[in-house]
Symmetry: C2
């Protein structure tokens, strides 16, 4: 089954556990609105890709792999909901449709994010996954989403007057990519630490690509407002070092990503996949810039 | 050690894990602001009390008991932060001091709640707790905090036009009390289902006491605004059935609570404790009303 089909299927299946007859109808609808239709699903695709870097016999725990893929995507969707709120980016569109809070209200938006965050841990603690794996997955996910270098810390750096840009990007963007590679590794019984650097590098590349898109993209292509970094006085590498250097850094990072793939059963195929995936989020326009 | 001393100690110790050098300074401070000084700490007191209803040899996993106590309190504090936001109750004071968002801003308030929610799962997945216990604790906590009958569902009912009052109270208030009794039971190796009803009943009693306080209390005694239910058109049992019936129901509930204590090693002592604890949150003024 193709990765994108598998991901949509498992998101439909696992997100169904987030509502039942005791769930207020509007909350059920806003959870659905937050998850479908999705964006590029890059993080769960990365989970599936890392798991497939191991031989079939190590991929026995499909429940753990699927739960990991769904959890990183649900956490990502929760972070997007919060990012778009008036008190953060005040963005009115996302993934080509009105931002969730503009449709369902700020209160329901906050609760939808809560539902998704709690839901991640619910599906990772599923009884179909052995307890030791569950506990390890949950420890890693909390590490990458919480207030110690996780996405919560990343977002909170924006409220500080002095920011370490690398720490900010590593936590705001890198951490969830690291969660993707590390949770996948845990799910196949590999050492998550071996996969940590790869996740962070992909996160860095993604962040630079996002900064470039915020500078040159247009709202229709991107599905969300552009030029937000300037408007919100937020760090953007293009604004800091110029387009040529930013593009050069992005291209170098993609090479670093490919080289940093750790030993695994299907290393070569995985490197090819990673290269293809990188092309999904790198803006086409960059070929005009630095070689 | 007295329960309240133990609870403050463990909250200080466990909340310290929610920030390190990678945590933005304001977030570290707002997490501290959210947790200290606390309110009555009723939920973690309930965790400790249930654990002490079992003999010492069953209370070996002090790490699990402490993590459970801290988790229910951290989750409660997170829910208070969100409740007070402009898009929910728009309350400007809590626990006798300015509400968190009025001091740290709405954005930081939302992130502080995130940090606490993720932090709960982090401390329950601690390596010092055996994996099977961790996974069971996390499953229960997600059940009582998520969108299927948990506090997220409870809060979201307020945005609906038609509400089942019992379902609303059970999820908004009862669920976290049930989490307290059930997590405590899991921590001592007892069956959490035996303790579920007790938690829900305590939650119901607490909710009625809260409704009564909202009607007759004054802001100084309570540390938060009163009369909010009328202002926000929210269900309040006193407004629905009158003070006499509400007080009668509360008194009957306290008796039900005491009778519903399941079999355990120190049942009699636990019943005494529960009676004492109930008196901590029952408004003194009710003696004027129904016998």
């Amino acid at each position: 089954m193709q990765a994108h089909v598998r991901i949509e299927q498992l998101l439909v299946e696992l997100s169904a556990r987030l509502s039942n007859s005791t769930t207020p109808p509007k909350l059920t609808q806003s959870i659905d609105y937050a998850l479908f239709p999705g964006g590029a699903r890059i993080r769960p695709r990365l989970v599936i890709a890392v798991s497939e870097a191991y031989s079939t016999d190590k991929r026995q725990s499909r429940t753990a792999i699927n739960a990991s893929a769904a959890a990183v995507e649900m956490m990502h969707c929760a972070s997007l909901i919060q990012d778009d709120l008036k008190c953060f980016d005040d963005a009115d569109s996302r993934r080509g449709k009105p931002a969730l809070h503009t449709v369902w209200g700020a209160g329901n938006a906050i609760l939808t994010a809560d539902a998704l965050i709690v839901g991640c841990f619910q599906i990772l603690a599923d009884e179909g996954i052995d307890s030791a794996t569950s506990a390890a997955l949950i420890r890693k996910l909390t590490r990458h989403t919480g207030s110690c270098g996780g996405i919560t810390a990343g977002q909170a750096w924006e409220a500080e007057t002095t920011i370490d840009l690398d720490a900010y990007h590593a936590s705001k963007t890198g951490s969830l990519f690291a969660a993707a590679t590390e949770l996948a590794a845990i799910s196949v019984g590999a050492n998550p630490d071996d996969w940590s650097r790869l996740g962070l590098l992909i996160g860095s590349a993604y962040q630079i690509a996002d900064d470039i898109r915020d500078t040159i993209g247009n709202t229709n292509d991107l599905g969300k407002p552009v030029g937000k970094d300037v408007e919100l006085h937020r760090p953007n590498i293009v604004l800091q070092v110029g387009m040529n250097k930013a593009v050069a850094r992005l291209k170098r990072l993609v090479e670093d990503v490919v080289e940093s793939v750790p030993n695994c059963d299907n290393r070569f195929e995985f490197q090819k996949t990673v290269h293809q995936e990188a092309n999904r989020f790198i803006p086409k326009e960059i070929d005009r810039y630095a070689a």
